[in-house]
Symmetry: C2
Subunit: 619 residues, 2 copies
C-alpha cells in the first residue's frame, strides 16, 4: 500500500538509545550490498550526520564510555562506507530487497517537539501582545499565491521560490515573505483601507541552502507588522522602530542594536561620489555586503566586477565607514557637497525628524545610524533597518538541535535537558562568555512606498492613474529568535506543558471518581490530567505527574472521599548541583481539603495565581 | 517589471462603490473587443459572480434605487457578453493592449480581514485552551511532506493532494491532514514517546471543488487532538469525546450532536448479514453515504454497482437505520446472531465501557449511537465519530462572505456590519428560525491503531517486527466553526481590535507628549494608539478612536498637562433600533485624572478589568 522511497542504505536508526546495534548492522548491511547495488553517498552522508549528532549527544549526557566508544566506532564505519561508495561500487540492482520508506521531514524543514513548541508559543504570545499593544490588527493570507503575484518582486532571489506543480488550473507558488501578499491585499482592498496597522504571523518558504542550527530553514516563521497610509513624516517609522525595540527587550534576546540607514541618503552619497545613475542599485548591493566582507573585497567588487572608477569607490568608502547617532547626522548636515544633493538633503531631514521621535520613544540608545546598511531588496524607498543581536545561536542551541540536521532528518529534539549550570539569582547579570558570542540579524524592514502602487499599476486599465499607498514594515525572524531563546529556556529548566493538577487515586482505581474530579477542575479553568488506566498503581500516577512537572497532585482515597475530603500535595522542583530535581517531601502527607472547597483552595495558592507559561516552577 | 496574467477582460472593478461606471465601460470594452480578440468566458463568468455579489451588497445596504438598477443593468450586460463569448467570437489577438495582472488569491483560498481574524483568534484561543486543559502538548510539523509519506494513506482522495513542482531534489506535497504527519512523527520518535496527548492547529490542503460560503476551501485550518499509547479500553476515546463536547459548548455553535459508531460493530453486522469479506470496505463506503442519500439509493449502489445480493442489502438496511443511546446497545446485545460474531461482540463490549465513561463525563446527552455512521477513511479500527451542528452556515454568513467567491476573487470581507436585529437579552434564548437551519459536520475522528505501525513496517528492516502504536484523535474544521460563529459575532456587534485607549491632543499637536503618554500606557499593558500626525484636529483623532471603538479617549491639553492632569472620556456603544451607535455624551467633559495616577485609574475601571476579546462593548 505504501510507495517506498529508494534508498541504498538499509538501516535508519530511529532511536539514539541503540547506537551499538546500529553500528554493527550497518557494516554487515554495507558488506552485503556492495555486491548488488550502488550505495547512495548522500544517504550515507545523512547517516553520518545523524550518527555525529548521536555521538555528541551521548557525550553530552555523560553516557557510559562503552556506549560512547561504540557510537564513535559506528561513525568511523560509516565514514569508511562513504569513501567506498564514492569510490563507485559496481552494479545497479535492487534485487529482491524490499525498498524502505525514509522516515524524515523534507530538506530544510523540521518538526517542533512539544517542549520546543511550548517555548515557541511563549515567544509568539509576547510578539502578538506587542503587536496589539501598538494598535495592530491581524491579517491572514493564503500560504500560496498565484505565481504572477510573486513574480518580479525578488530580483535574483526569485529562483528560491517554491512552485506548486501544475495540476491543471492556476500557476501557484508558496509565499516567499509576508510583504508581497500584504501589498497584494492592500491593492485589492483599495480605497476601503487607506490607513492600517496590520500584523501577520505565519510561515514563509525559500528554496535556500538550510543551516538548521542557526534557524536558517526552507520553511520558517515570520512575524510582520506594517503601517500603511499617508501620515506625517517618520511617525509610523518611529512607531515601528519603537515596536521592534520593545519586542526585542521583552523577548530577552540579550544585547541588541538596530542599525538604521536611509535609502535617500545612500542614493545621495552615490550621486555625490559620482556613481552613474544606472549603477546605483548594483553598487548599493555591493555596499550591503560590508557586514560580511572587508572593505577591500567590497571595493574590488565595485571596481573589478561592476566597473566603477576606483576613485569613486574610495569616496564611497569614506562615507560608508561611518556609524553613530545624532552626532553623525550633524556631521553629514555640515557636509556641503552632500546637503547640496536633493535626495541626500531629503533623507537627512527625515533622519533628523526620526531621531527627535526616537528620543520621545526612549529607544535612541538602541539605534545605530549606519551608512553601510543598504539592504538587498529593490523596493525600499526610505529608511531601512536591521536588528542585530550580540549573542546569536550559541553552542547550547546547536547541541539542543543536533538531531535536527540540515537535511531534515530531524528526529524531534528532546525535552529540555537538565541544565548543568545554575540559574543566576534574580536581578544578577550573568557574565557574557566571549567565546560564545556571535552576530546575527534577527529582524529587518524598511519603507516601501511603491509596492502597492506597482500592483495597482499592473492591474489598472491603460491610462488610468495607479493609486499609491506608502508603507513601512518590519519582519521578525521567529526561528532566529527561537534559536536564541530556546537554550536559555532549557537552561532555566522551563516546563514543557501547563498542566496544573494531576488526580491520583489510592486504593481501588476509582476511575469514575477520578474522571468526575478531573472534569470539575477543568471546568473551573484548572488544567488537569490523570492516568488513563482502570486501576493504576499510585506510583505510576505520581511518576506521570512528575514527568510533566505538575505542581499539584490531588489524591483521592475511598474513605477520605466518602468523608468529603481530598488531599493536595504540592510538588516542587529545584536546582541542586545544576540538576533540576524534585524537592523531597518525605513524610509530607499533603493538605486535607474539603472536596467542594478544592477549586477555591487551589485558586488562592500563589503557585496557581502566579502561574504563567514563562515562569520557572522552582522553590 | 511585473509579469502580467493573461486576461481577455480589460475591466476589473475593484471598488463596489462605482458599479455604474463599470457597467457602461464593460459594454464598450466588449464591443471593441469582439472584433479583435476572443473574450475568455471564464473571465466573464468571474466578473458576473463579482457583479452579483456587488448587486446583492447594494440591495442589502439599502442603496439608492438608481445605483441598484445600474448594477443590475451591468449584470445583464455581462450575461449577454458571456453568451456572445460562448458563441465563439472570431479572432485571436492581443493587439497592442497591455496585459493586466489579476489581483486575486488562488482558487479555493481567501484572505481573512482583520475583523474576521479577530473572531478567528477568539475561536482558536478557546480551542487551544481546551486542548491544554485536557493535558495536551503542541506539535508542529512542516506544511509540506515528502510525497512518499503521504502516498497510500488517502485512497481515492489521493488525487486531491497538492504536489510541489520538482525543482531538483525531493518530491514534495502539501499536507492533506494532520493525522498522517502526526503518525510519521510518532514513528520517528519511536520508543521515546509511547504515550502522548498532542494537539496541532494548522492549515491543510486539498485540491477539491471549493464552496467558500460553507467554509469548504482548498486551504483550511484544522485543529487536531490525538492520544497515543496503550491505555485501558475506551478511556482515551472518552476523553476525546468529552473534549469535543467541551469545545463545541464553549464555542457556542448552538445545538450539536456527536454521532458515534464502532468499526468492529459495523464489520460484525456486515459479516452477520453475509457480506463477503472482500466487499466489506466498499459496502461500508456505501453506508457512509446515508447522511446524504436515502436508503433506496444506497441500496442501489450496494446491489447494482457493488454486486451485493439484495437480500443481504436489506438485512444491512435493518441494522443501519438504528440510532439512539444505551438502550440501542442493550437491544444489540440481545441480538444473538450479532453477539455470536466475535468482531461485533468486541465492539459492543467497548461501546458499553464507553457509555459508562461518557456518563461520568456528563456528555451522554450529546451522543447519538448511530449505526449508519461509517466514515470514509480506511485506517479507522475502533470507534468513529462526527459532530453535527444544527445550524451550519445560515444566510447571514453567506452574505457576509459574498465577496469571497468560490473562485478566490475575494476582496476581503468587510468589517462587521451593523446588525439589523437587536441582541437577545442576557439569558434569553433566541428562537430558532427553521428556514435557516442546515446540517453540517464540523469535527470528526476515530481510533486508528494501525497507522503508526504502517510507517514503522514500511521503514523497518526486513524480518523486523514493526512497532505498533494505538492512537485515537479528533479533527475540528476551524473554517466550518468560523462559518457558524462569525455571523453571530457580527450580529452581536463585536469589536475588531483590542485597543483600549486612544491619546487625543487638544491645541498645538503635542506630538512628543502624546508619544510619551502612549508609550507609558503601552508599557503598563494598556493597548494604546494615537494619530500619526503632527498637528491633527481633535475631531480627526476622536473619529479614529471611534472607528476602532476604543473605550477610553485620553485627552491632553497644554494647560491641564502643565498642571499635571489629563482627561479621560469613556466611549460606549449601544444598539438603538438594531443599529450599533455611540452613546451620546454631549456636555460630558470626561474625568480629570492626575497624569501619574492614570494607569492605576484606568486599571480599576470595570471596563478595563472586565475586558476580554469575546466581550461586547456596550452599555
Amino acid at each position: 500500500m505504501l510507495l517506498l522511497a529508494r534508498t541504498a542504505f538499509r538501516l535508519i536508526h530511529r532511536s539514539p538509545l541503540h547506537p551499538t546495534r546500529s553500528a554493527s548492522l550497518i557494516l554487515s548491511a554495507h558488506t552485503r550490498r556492495t555486491h548488488t547495488m550502488s550505495p547512495d553517498p548522500d544517504a550515507i552522508q545523512l547517516e553520518i550526520e545523524q550518527q555525529k549528532a548521536r555521538f555528541n549527544d551521548l557525550r553530552k549526557q555523560g553516557a557510559a564510555q562503552e556506549l560512547v566508544d561504540e557510537a564513535k566506532k559506528s561513525l568511523g564505519d560509516l565514514q569508511r562506507a562513504l569513501a567506498l561508495a564514492k569510490g563507485g561500487a559496481a552494479g545497479k540492482d535492487a534485487g529482491k530487497k524490499r525498498e524502505r520508506l525514509m522516515l524524515k521531514t523534507a530538506k530544510g524543514t523540521r518538526d517542533y517537539s512539544p517542549a520546543e513548541m511550548y517555548c515557541r508559543e511563549h515567544i509568539e504570545r509576547i510578539v502578538k501582545d506587542c503587536f496589539t499593544a501598538y494598535g495592530g490588527s491581524c491579517l491572514d493570507t493564503p500560504v500560496f499565491e498565484r505565481k504572477d503575484i510573486l513574480q518580479g518582486k525578488y530580483g535574483e532571489d526569485a529562483k528560491l521560490i517554491f512552485d506548486l506543480m501544475d495540476q491543471g488550473g492556476e500557476q501557484l507558488a508558496l509565499r516567499y515573505d509576508h510583504t508581497v501578499p500584504l501589498a497584494r491585499y492592500l491593492a485589492m482592498v483599495g480605497a476601503n483601507n487607506t490607513h492600517s496597522k496590520l500584523w501577520q504571523v505565519g510561515k514563509v518558504y525559500r528554496r535556500d541552502n538550510p543551516v538548521m542550527s542557526k534557524g536558517r530553514m526552507r520553511e520558517f516563521l515570520q512575524a510582520d507588522f506594517d503601517i500603511s497610509g499617508t501620515w506625517d513624516p517618520m511617525i509610523p517609522d518611529a512607531e515601528l522602530l519603537s515596536l521592534l525595540c520593545t519586542i526585542m527587550t521583552k523577548l530577552d534576546v540579550g544585547e541588541f542594536t538596530v542599525k538604521v540607514n536611509h535609502r535617500k541618503i545612500l542614493d545621495g552619497i552615490f550621486e555625490v561620489c559620482g556613481v552613474p545613475a544606472e549603477k546605483i542599485r548594483s553598487i548599493s548591493s555591493a555596499v550591503d555586503k560590508l557586514d560580511k566582507l572587508p572593505w577591500v573585497e567590497v571595493k574590488k567588487e565595485m571596481t573589478d566586477e561592476k566597473g566603477l572608477d576606483a576613485a569613486i569607490a574610495d569616496k564611497i568608502g569614506e562615507y560608508v565607514k561611518h556609524k553613530g547617532g545624532p552626532e553623525l547626522l550633524e556631521k553629514l548636515n555640515a557636509d556641503a557637497a552632500l546637503t547640496a544633493n536633493k535626495s541626500a538633503k531629503n533623507g537627512l531631514n527625515e533622519m533628523g525628524i526620526l531621531f527627535t521621535l526616537l528620543n520621545a520613544y526612549k529607544v535612541l540608545d538602541k539605534i545605530s545610524f549606519d551608512l553601510s546598511l543598504a539592504r538587498g531588496l529593490d523596493y525600499y524607498t526610505g529608511i531601512i533597518y536591521e536588528a542585530i543581536v550580540e549573542a546569536s545561536a550559541p553552542p547550547g542551541f546547536t547541541e539542543a538541535n543536533a538531531l535536527a540536521a540540515a537535511d531534515g532528518t530531524a528526529a524531534p529534539a528532546p525535552a529540555p535537558k537538565k541544565s548543568k549550570k545554575p540559574k543566576a539569582a534574580d536581578g544578577e547579570e550573568e557574565e557574557v562568555d566571549e567565546s560564545q558570542v556571535g552576530v546575527g540579524s534577527i529582524a529587518a524592514g524598511g519603507r516601501y512606498d511603491g509596492l502597492v502602487g506597482m500592483f495597482n499599476a499592473a492591474a489598472a486599465a491603460e491610462g488610468k492613474k495607479a493609486h499609491e499607498l506608502p508603507c513601512v514594515g518590519v519582519s521578525i525572524g521567529m526561528d532566529r529568535v527561537f534559536a536564541i531563546v530556546w537554550p536559555k529556556w532549557v537552561e532555566k529548566g522551563m516546563r514543557s506543558k501547563e498542566t496544573m493538577a494531576y488526580v491520583v487515586s489510592m486504593g481501588d482505581g476509582l476511575l469514575k471518581e477520578r474522571v468526575q474530579l478531573v472534569q470539575e477542575l477543568r471546568e473551573a479553568g484548572i488544567k488537569t490530567d490523570f492516568l488513563a488506566k482502570n486501576k493504576p498503581k499510585h506510583q505510576a500516577q505520581f511518576a506521570a505527574s512528575e514527568k510533566d512537572e505538575v505542581p499539584f497532585a490531588i489524591i483521592i482515597a475511598p474513605e477520605e472521599l466518602a468523608a468529603g475530603f481530598v488531599r493536595v500535595k504540592e510538588q516542587k522542583w529545584q536546582f541542586v548541583d545544576g540538576e533540576k530535581v524534585k524537592v523531597k517531601t518525605e513524610g509530607d502527607k499533603g493538605t486535607q481539603v474539603r472536596r467542594e472547597e478544592l477549586v477555591g483552595w487551589l485558586k488562592q495558592t500563589t503557585t496557581l495565581a502566579g502561574w504563567s507559561s514563562g515562569k520557572l516552577v522552582e522553590n
